[in-house]
Symmetry: C2
């Protein structure tokens, strides 16, 4: 009999993971606030649930992949934790504050449920291709139990120990590093273009040599093609992540000047009505400040 | 008979290139302000020159690899350009302003000499291992003529067209991108360490996944090991390059907020007496601002 697990949250990431879990042979109960999103997965064998706690089985495993801290707290209801009960595991894959993971881990413990933070890196295409990177933190036994789930959705797991929020710190650091890479490429390209070097030539060189890695390659392609409408990482979510990173940095007493600058770049992007674009569109700010437009 | 070329400047980079040129069979005349530096190369077959122009042969090729704009202008004397004369080529490999290359190209033309900008990427170890990346700009024929030289010192050549300063723009953009990567890693590590994630774990993950490329790998290793004394790219030279990038950005009317921030980081590093360290030591600023020290 296949292992039965629950999944809460069927956004772009959740849907891609769900398909891979079904393909790997997991029995899957799925919940999404907008129920219609479950339909394509139901056709592949998933069971739809009417409430978050309906995805849980006693002592079982439930994954959640939702938009923000508030959404995780809203789905991790007392009812859900009661339904999971002693021996149950909640694998929380959303990008949230480390402090929220710590708070949730405590609340879960009251119900005998183990909380595991397991945020992932990778755009929806990577999720569909089972090429996510999974960062984990929390009690070892629960992480081992969830391992087949991680193997079904990703290409590798990196563990950051037992502290509930450690993996969330890594996820926020990563989203900072990747948006910082976009800003830096944009500044370099603006300098290049105003001095006679097209951004295609500039980034073509760097991504074949010193910066030949997924983040630079992916975002260089978007900058060169001015491809901002194809949303994999929505711009408002990137701003949310910058705010979470700032909160975490402030809590730890860490000034992060590049992060502060990025936050303002994203606020400017929203002010200009770019909330429907990919986070890569933050690159347009550096260009516009230099009096040029890369927007098609 | 081997092709005879001249080389001006025997710093860490120049010496490594000279050895590879000798190994590739070039006849080499070398000049350095501090003449003693030529000795090990003379033992390998190079001919020492007493003045910069003594490295030139009529219609031949001369390379220069010196510290800054002023040093290039000081070695590209009228005597040197007269000695090279019509058909001669000066391959200028230093990290200098695009505007200086434009000015020099004009002055060279008066003597019938072609000026080629060919700054390189790679630390002295990469130079020794013939693994430099060479960026070129200038007239095509002269670049073709210098091609065997580039092949003897590097692993690849990227061309940026005929404008004299284009390759210098790329070099400044690259040094900006690489120092920005150090700053961003340092900010992320400071946030990580103050929130329970050691920098070794954080950077270990990123350099195996999203940022698996030479710049992140090299500088992550230095940050993790607190290895700042082993100087490959001297901190004062990095500040010089930030200043050149700022000048170029200002000339092109390009605000670059991350670059401005980096310039201040390097100034702070010098203020703290770190002028004898590698540019990677700029990472110490973000840590110290957060009340922690990575310095051994």
């Amino acid at each position: 009999m296949p292992q039965q697990i629950g999944l809460i949250g069927l956004g772009q990431m959740g849907r891609a993971m769900a398909s891979n879990l079904l393909a790997a042979g997991f029995g899957l109960r799925v919940y999404n606030r907008t129920a219609a999103r479950a339909q394509p997965l139901v056709e592949k064998g998933a069971t739809p649930a009417r409430e978050p706690h309906d995805v849980a089985t006693a002592g079982g495993v439930v994954l959640s992949v939702v938009a923000d801290d508030r959404a995780v707290e809203e789905v991790a209801t007392d009812k859900l934790l009661q339904a999971l009960g002693p021996g149950g595991v909640h694998v929380s894959m959303s990008t949230i504050l480390p402090a929220t993971s710590e708070k949730l881990a405590d609340r879960h413990a009251h119900f005998g449920v183990t909380y595991v933070a397991a945020p992932v890196f990778g755009r929806p295409e990577a999720a569909a291709a089972r090429r996510l990177w999974v960062c984990t933190s929390g009690p070892s036994e629960a992480k081992q139990r969830a391992r087949p789930v991680f193997d079904a959705i990703g290409q590798g797991v990196f563990d950051f120990g037992e502290a509930p929020g450690a993996a969330n710190v890594v996820k926020l650091a990563g989203n900072f590093l990747l948006t910082a890479a976009i800003e830096c490429m944009a500044e370099a390209c603006a300098m290049g273009e105003k001095n006679g070097v097209p951004r295609e030539a500039l980034l073509g060189f760097f991504t074949q040599t010193l910066f030949d890695c997924p983040i630079y390659n992916n975002y260089a392609r978007r900058l060169v093609d001015a491809d901002y409408g194809n949303v994999g990482f929505a711009l408002p979510l990137a701003l949310k992540d910058m705010a979470l990173a700032q909160q975490t940095a402030t809590a730890g007493r860490v000034p992060m000047p590049v992060l502060s600058l990025l936050r303002d770049r994203f606020v400017a992007s929203l002010a200009k009505g770019r909330g429907n674009l990919d986070a890569a569109a933050v690159a347009l700010e550096a260009a516009e400040d230099a009096g040029i437009s890369w927007f098609k």
